[in-house]
Symmetry: C2
Subunit: 437 residues, 2 copies
């Protein structure tokens, strides 16, 4: 499954490794955060279940192998290589930080240790499977951080880069602290609370707004949220208020949310609906939410769509997947890329996090604090069930609460200290000397 | 299939329409480009096959219906509604502009005409299925436009928002004019030319760069592209040149691409490899490509990843899906949203494009030029196979070539004239009067 869902060069390299007799060499690849996304002080790791599912099921159908066989790039590959692909399975190891872990620039998210070809092919899929949910979880955490305890609901599937990305984005948003999502499949699949009542088309489909509101209330009872901005927002608020209870509240989706929310609040209060809440949506992001909260908007919950589901201001992050170690019949070769700004560091690693800093060490070292990278798959088998979604969400919340106030701000600040252990620095120097021309 | 892959409010509205006796009303919804994405003069429509596939297969499994039944929002829905969902099929009509059509602000991409519930539920999925590929096709067209005839290859799956988005992004890039993709599954599934040779890990896995280059050349022959920047780019170029032919060329992935490309060109030329090409990659977008081309970089092909696969500078677009008409037992009601900036216009529409302008008219009107919206699904059935991917790509290329030079620039310019027909304007006025409080 998914064997071809990778860049072609992973597969031409696979053929090349095979033909060069390197199929038995054991490689360690590291997926790491080279740079934080713009305007971010940390990134919340997410996406591990997709990585695990991919590695455990990675294979090629006969039709896929035939397709490769017909490509000019594989003209010189041997029949044995195609047999190898037909029987391909991932037999290696995966180490990963748990979902919900905040990470900083330079830190590994996961490590794959496997026969060279098995470790090479997953590069493309793993990068995509980790970076997108991590970006969304991070964006969600930023919205939650500035909401002053108000609920943030993920509304963005319609803007996600494919509907399925909407489902995974909803899951990532929940890890980042959203209290629910509008994505129904995310509720069905992951048990995330789902929210939703009616759109403008609902209101427009009835002869009058008040009839639309009445019908919705009949259906939803105390879960009713009346969308009041189809024609005139304050008139809509009055129509909703006239119907009285049961009602959860109303939603504003356009206009000056700050002043409208206060006017609507007054309408509701006057009608004896002090318990009725006001939800706001429409082009929101963490900056806008902060502004509304600081400005004293009478908003009890925010629905965030486009900016959250696409991580709009930072739709990509500079994560990399690099070979760091190669075991050729028991002889270890440490590998790194030394040209220009794209330097990578050699050797399998561990990250130790204590109260004052993170130490990136060699994988065998002892260290202080929490060791972030943990075994997930060994010898091609999942060693135990992954932490639940709720656990990932709690882990993120706890870890973010432990960050300094400055790191939790929206603006970029002095980075959290991340240093290399003495042993790792020695290995870097040694690798550099060995590679010097 | 995919019944739950939608916002919950589509389904609560479905229940509400059903309970209010509106299931037999026939609605027309329009998916349109409210605003162009930032920095764009047009957007290339793409994603139609996903829309068709979704509508033809839309259904709910028994487990999905049970899930909805257990949600508090459906407590007051009747058993008949859940029976309705169990037997749900899309029986309506879809009209769409062909893939590869440039569209401008305010123009419809597609129209759904179906019983109200069947037209409402697809909103979320259709918006996502259309906007993402349209954004990527548009970004690709911009890169191709400034490349001066050099090949643009899509390299971005690893940055796409899910691996599957990478596949659909590769397809959209091809519509936009890319000559190929690194995504192997896109090649297998859609017949797009696939490209790829080796990564830095290939070079690092061998004891020396020259050995790595020799092995790659043995495998790929005249398709060989040596990645020369793992250690030292110019030394890499000399190593590649020393091996002579067969070779397609070399790839630069870091450093000052402009000056390095000229130095590498000199190395290749001196070695008698004047035919060998230079490909560049690494954080490229249409602005960088234009700068390199204008600056006389010796680059023959560009690999574009992150920015293309995420439409980095415009990762979302303001498309909307709005009810424009409702047929209640033969009586037509025209619907529009009138509050604030989010105005929508009533009535099913057609767009006529001639050499001087686009005219948005009512669907039954005659007009001059090409009628862009065409029937695709009628009565729940696909009326004929969709145009091929190659046809969509040609359509885009021809249509872009017909745009004025200013509209083809990267910078935003005077918009293409889009006007409303007299009949449509009359309908707008009439609807506004009817809705006035």
């Amino acid at each position: 499954m998914n064997g071809l869902l990778t860049d072609l060069y992973e597969l031409t390299m696979a053929a090349g490794y095979f033909e060069a007799g390197k199929a038995s060499e054991k490689a360690t690849f590291e997926l790491s955060v080279r740079r934080l996304p713009v305007c971010r002080n940390f990134v919340i790791a997410a996406g591990l279940p997709e990585v695990v599912d991919y590695l455990l099921n990675l294979s090629f159908t006969p039709e896929e192998v035939d397709y490769l066989r017909g490509l000019p790039q594989f003209r010189n590959a041997s029949a044995k290589f195609f047999d190898y692909l037909r029987n391909f399975r991932f037999t290696g190891d995966l180490f990963s930080v748990p979902e919900g872990t905040p990470l900083f620039a330079g830190e590994p998210v996961l490590t794959v240790r496997a026969p060279l070809i098995e470790a090479q092919i997953p590069e493309t899929y793993l990068l995509s499977a980790i970076t997108f949910p991590s970006l969304v979880a991070t964006k969600a955490a930023r919205c939650v951080e500035v909401s002053g305890g108000r609920e943030i609901v993920e509304f963005g599937t319609r803007r996600a880069h494919t509907p399925e990305a909407g489902v995974l984005g909803a899951r990532a948003s929940y890890i980042g602290g959203c209290s629910g999502t509008s994505n129904t499949l995310a509720g069905f699949r992951y048990g995330i609370p789902v929210m939703g009542t009616a759109a403008h088309s609902w209101v427009m489909s009835f002869p009058s707004e008040s009839e639309a509101f009445r019908q919705l209330q009949r259906l939803l009872g105390e879960h009713t949220i009346q969308l009041i901005d189809t024609y005139d927002t304050l008139e809509g608020a009055r129509q909703a208020a006239k119907l009285g209870k049961p009602i959860w509240g109303v939603r504003l989706d356009s206009g000056d949310l700050s002043s409208l929310s206060r006017e609507v609040r007054a309408v509701l209060d006057e009608a004896g609906l002090a318990d009725a809440k006001i939800m706001a949506s429409g082009d929101l992001d963490e900056y806008r939410i902060r502004e509304l909260v600081r400005g004293g908007a009478a908003i009890d919950a925010f629905g965030v769509g486009t900016q959250l589901a696409t991580s709009g201001d930072a739709p990509a992050m500079g994560a990399i997947y690099k070979m760091v170690e190669l075991d050729i019949g028991g002889i270890h070769r440490f590998t790194s890329k030394l040209s220009d700004a794209k330097v990578t560091f050699p050797g399998a690693k561990q990250v130790f996090r204590d109260v004052a800093r993170d130490v990136i060490a060699r994988s065998g070292e002892c260290g202080n604090g929490e060791a972030l990278l943990r075994p997930v798959i060994l010898g091609g088998r999942l060693i135990e069930p992954l932490p639940s979604l709720e656990q990932a969400r709690c882990r993120a919340a706890r870890a973010i609460a432990n960050l300094s106030p400055a790191l939790r701000e929206l603006e970029v600040t002095e980075p959290w200290p991340v240093i290399y252990s003495r042993e790792l620095r020695a290995l870097i120097d040694q690798t550099r000397r060995n590679l010097a021309p």
